[in-house]
Structures are given as structure tokens and as C-alpha cells.
Symmetry: C2
């Protein structure tokens, strides 16, 4: 690869002049330098620039699992936005492990300008680790602690859970089950709590045996639904906290021959591909993954700008709206 010396030599100027032109300054022999750059196919070396400037035009993106369509879409949103500013993204999966996050960020942090993360834990150690990074951080989808000193993007989990509960109540359900994800996470906690509270305000309690709490995974959803079926407590509807658990639950329900919505109404957080093609198209609370990515990227890019200009700003919490997409998996409970 050609370097700045080659360009300077060919254009008959010094490397300083080339560098100046590259950073937008006016120079005499602009044409000659431009010509040399084009002929040599010169590209400034990113490592050298990064070393010199301490800026890398790179964002670290840490998600629990890039193979999960929701996170993949989120990443796409981030990528779209930062690309327009000449930034690139380094992607890593944490498998919901704090230790993996720490490991990967440790090896990454001095090569990036900022971090976008869907943290595995809401713990103090996560908060501390991120703060110690000393670089702009945006939390996506989940928070860490009560007052994180980071920007934060998430969706209206409370509103979604409330809509879900009200939808089921309005159809007449009174005995309802719930499958919730990790309570160590913001969405896990808020969706669970608000759903229960909304029911409670209407005088409906969810029994302990109708409550399943576990990982945000397909396999947990599968197991939870199986247990519910086996317990046979007479629930007429179930609310599931995210798409992967929902897919697992649907699998178990299908395997057990539980009719939806005939015998059980089904409602979950997160839309997913083909939800509308299922025998009973699933009613969902859908959220805008791409827009979340855009928002996160915008926040980060603004912070990076602030670093240059020395501007100080409060941490921002950006909350995006969710929508209740009514399809056909919820109906009035069978009058038995």
C-alpha cells in the first residue's frame, strides 16, 4: 500500500502538505496532490491515524447474540447510521455473560471511540466496568442500576406490558399465566411487573404456579410452557416476555395440541418473521429495532462530537414507542 510519503514525493510536496490537504486545509498544488492520491490509490492508514489522534472511527457493539434476529436488526440500525459518518462497527456476542463482556471490551476498548451495549446484567459491576472504560457508552434495551451515567435507549416496556394486560382483560380473561425473562434486566423486570400490576389493578392476581421466570431463550420458553400445560391450572391466556421464549412456548403448545386461541389466548412481546402465517397469527407488542439502532448511534455520535468540542451534556434517555399488533391469537376465554 502506498503511504503518505509516496504521495508527497509524486506530487513534489512534503508529507505535511499532503496531510493538510487531507484534513481540508487549502494548499497551493491541490491538483497535483489529488492526482497523486488517485494514481496511487492512496488511503490513509487507519492504525497510524488512530495512534496519533486517539480516534478510530470505530464503535464497539456488544449484544447477547448476534444470531438473534432482534439483535441483528438492532445492529443493522446502528451500522446504517454510523456508516454515514464514516464509522465502522466491531461486533461481539456476550451470550448474556458479564465475564464475556468484560473480556471482549478489555481487548477492544483502546481500538474504538465508543461502545453500544445490550448489557447482560443490571449489576453494579457492569456499571463500574462501563464507567471505567472512560469512553462514551450507550445502553440499549436494558439499563444498569437506577441512575446509569450513560445514554440509554429502550422501548416503552411499561406501556407495552400494560397494553398486553388490558387487551387480555378486555377480552374477559381472569386466570392468566406469564412467562418472563431475566429479572436482572430492565425489560425482563418491567414487563413482568407492569403486566402483573395492571392485572392487579383490575382485581386479577396471577397465581405463583402460573408464573415462570427464566432466561430469555427459546429453550426456557419451551420448558416453561410444558410445565404450564402439565400443571393444568386452568389459565385461559398467557403472556410471554419476548420473541425467543414465545417461539419456544409456541412449539410446546403446538406439540401438546393446545388450541390457540380456542383453549389458550397467546400474546407476547416482540414481533417475529412469519408471526402472521401461523395457524393462529400471533398478537404481539412490536418494537422498532432499526429505530432503536438509529437512536443509539445518534446518541453515540453526538457524544463523540462533544468530546472534540468539549461540550458537556446530561445523559439522555430515549424511549421509543411500542405498538399492540392485534392478530388472531387472543380471543374471549372459552365459557366452560
Amino acid at each position: 500500500m502506498a503511504n503518505i510519503h509516496d504521495v508527497a514525493q509524486r506530487a513534489g510536496v512534503s508529507i505535511a502538505t499532503v496531510s493538510r490537504m487531507l484534513s481540508g486545509e487549502n494548499i497551493r498544488n491541490r491538483a497535483a496532490v489529488e492526482g497523486a492520491i488517485a494514481e496511487l490509490g492512496y488511503r490513509p492508514n487507519a492504525s497510524a491515524r488512530g495512534l496519533r489522534l486517539g480516534r478510530h472511527h470505530t464503535i464497539a457493539v456488544i449484544v447477547p447474540d448476534i444470531a438473534n434476529p432482534y439483535f441483528a436488526t438492532l445492529v443493522r440500525g446502528i451500522e446504517e447510521r454510523v456508516m454515514t459518518k464514516g464509522f465502522r462497527i466491531i461486533v461481539a456476542s456476550s451470550d448474556e455473560q458479564f465475564t464475556a463482556e468484560r473480556e471482549v471490551l478489555g481487548g477492544l476498548i483502546d481500538a474504538v471511540d465508543a461502545v453500544a451495549i445490550v448489557p447482560a446484567e443490571a449489576s453494579d459491576r457492569t456499571h463500574r466496568m462501563l464507567a471505567d472504560l472512560g469512553k462514551p457508552v450507550v445502553l440499549i434495551d436494558r439499563t444498569v442500576g437506577d441512575d446509569p451515567e450513560f445514554d440509554l435507549v429502550h422501548v416503552d416496556n411499561a406501556g407495552g406490558a400494560r397494553m398486553a394486560a388490558e387487551h387480555l382483560l378486555s377480552l374477559g380473561h381472569r386466570r392468566i399465566g406469564i412467562i418472563s425473562g431475566r429479572q436482572e434486566t430492565l425489560p425482563g423486570q418491567v414487563r413482568h411487573k407492569v403486566f402483573l400490576d395492571t392485572l392487579s389493578s383490575a382485581g386479577v392476581q396471577v397465581e405463583p404456579e402460573d408464573t415462570k421466570i427464566g432466561e430469555f431463550t427459546r429453550s426456557f420458553g419451551e420448558r416453561a410452557a410444558q410445565e404450564m400445560i402439565a400443571a393444568n391450572t386452568g389459565i385461559t391466556a398467557v403472556f410471554v416476555g419476548n420473541n425467543t421464549m414465545a417461539q419456544g412456548a409456541l412449539l410446546s403448545l403446538h406439540a401438546a395440541g393446545v388450541g390457540i386461541p380456542g383453549r389458550l389466548s397467546f400474546l407476547c412481546f416482540d414481533d417475529f418473521d412469519l408471526a402472521e402465517l401461523l395457524p393462529s397469527p400471533v398478537t404481539v407488542i412490536s418494537r422498532p429495532a432499526i429505530a432503536e439502532g438509529h437512536a443509539a448511534a445518534d446518541l453515540l455520535l453526538a457524544r463523540i462530537d462533544d468530546l472534540e468540542t468539549g461540550r458537556q451534556r446530561k445523559f439522555m434517555h430515549k424511549v421509543l414507542p411500542v405498538a399492540l399488533t392485534v392478530r388472531q391469537s387472543c380471543a374471549a376465554p372459552a365459557t366452560s
Copy 2:
């Protein structure tokens, strides 16, 4: 951030000694240096190392769209494998645009050691661009030209297409439709051609009006299926070239009330989430996306090693097996 000087000073040695310890050499004051590193939380600066060594422990991964579950899973496979060797990945989406690939690689190439790419085109210019990079390249899923001077990982497209054709033939179908993706790509071309050839060998021709060729997208699948339905040529089965087109086609078929497999048998390349929960669980040719990622990563890591050791090796073509997963979307044609 602490640098190597700080560590050296604190440990009472020279920076060279610290550097040596870091690269595994034996030194006298090992304990002191280790202590200093731990206390200061020292991490070697990646840019400096990259600049000095020309090695970055980073792989560029270019896919058409990271939000597509197949590519996301592929990326996960690559990530898993390279991570174990201390490498990280920079991910970018090309939107099936050669110009986007060129753009993004141009800005990236001097910061990475190798490139894994699902190229948008099989064109000469793609081949040339990748060769000009002067770094190890592995092509995934698609090739460029007849004899690419790169490593290549793909699945047994021919075998899959043949199995698909034979499956439909064995059920008795004789009037069959096909929806195929971009013929500029290896899988688009091979799946299309081999499917047709296999039918042809059995004396079955696919009519031009039953043949749809377009982009590998959901929207093209939707449109193609709509046209087929409208044309009403009497096909009893349809083969779709990948998962995104298949999802689009299923949407149209569903909207038009076409019963599967009652009125139309449906078979496609690529498995997808919930395929088994559809009213008529879809029979598919499934392929191992994670394993493809692993294979690609292994090839790249081996090439990077070769660079160090100076070893020369032939380019490898790794072909992974596919499987026919029979569910219930294919049946004998209705005797009309």
C-alpha cells in the same frame, strides 16, 4: 490509559523488557512486571501494535444484510471461531451492492488481516477488487468467476436442488414452478440449473411462465408468487430458492387462499424459525450456517498463519452438506 512506559517505570525495567514478557519471552523480573501490569490495568495499545506489526487481529466480514437471520448466524459462526484465537470482527452490510462492498473494504482493509465476504456479484470486477486487496479472502456461499484465487466455503447447492427435484418427482408432480434468486450468484445459478436439469432428466420441463427469477428478497418472493397465482397455469408444486423469497411467497399464497399442500406443494432452500409451526410445516433443504462460519474462519486463520510462516498452499474449496428436512408442505398432486 497506562502505556508500556508506565509499566516499565513501575517495574523498574526498560520498555523492551516489558514488551518481551508480553510476547512470551523469559525475563528476570517477571513477577514485578506482572504486578505492574495488573496494578495499572495495562493493555497494549492495538493501534500501535497494528501500526508496528501490520497485524491487527481483526477480520472484516461483509454480508449482504446482517439483519437477515441466515447471515447473522453465519457471522456468529465466524465470530465464535476467530474469538478463540484472539481476533475480532468488523461487520458491514453491502445490500447486495458491489459499490458498497468496494467502498467499505477500501476504508477497512488496512485495519484488518483478512476478509470474509458473501459477495454481491460473481463479476470480474469483484474478483479483481478482492485480489487487489492483497490480503487473505474467503468467499462464503457464493463464488466469483470460474477459478477464484480465494478460499471458498459453500454448501452443496447442487445436491440440495437435486434432492428437492427428486422429492417432488417422487410424489408425482409433473407441472412444477420455480422461484429463483439472482443468477449472478453461485447458489442462485446452481440451484436453478440443477433443479431444472434433474426434472429434465426425468422428462419434466418447467414452462417459461412458471419460472420466476429475481432478487433474493422477501418482496420478490411475494411478487413472484402473486404472478404465478394470477397466471393460474396449473402447477402442482413450487420450488423456492431461499428462505427470504420463500417467506414472501408463503405470504402471497396465504393471502390468496392457496392450500398447501392441498392445492400446491411447497419446497424451499434454507430452513427458518417456526417453519415447523406453520399450518403446513414447510419441507426444506436446510444448511448449516454456523458450520459455514466456522469453516470460513478456520480457512482464514490458517491463511493468516501461512503469512507468518511463509507457507504456500492451494486455495481450498470447502463444501458442506445440506439435508432434506421433510415436513408436510409436499404431497402428491391432487388428481383433478
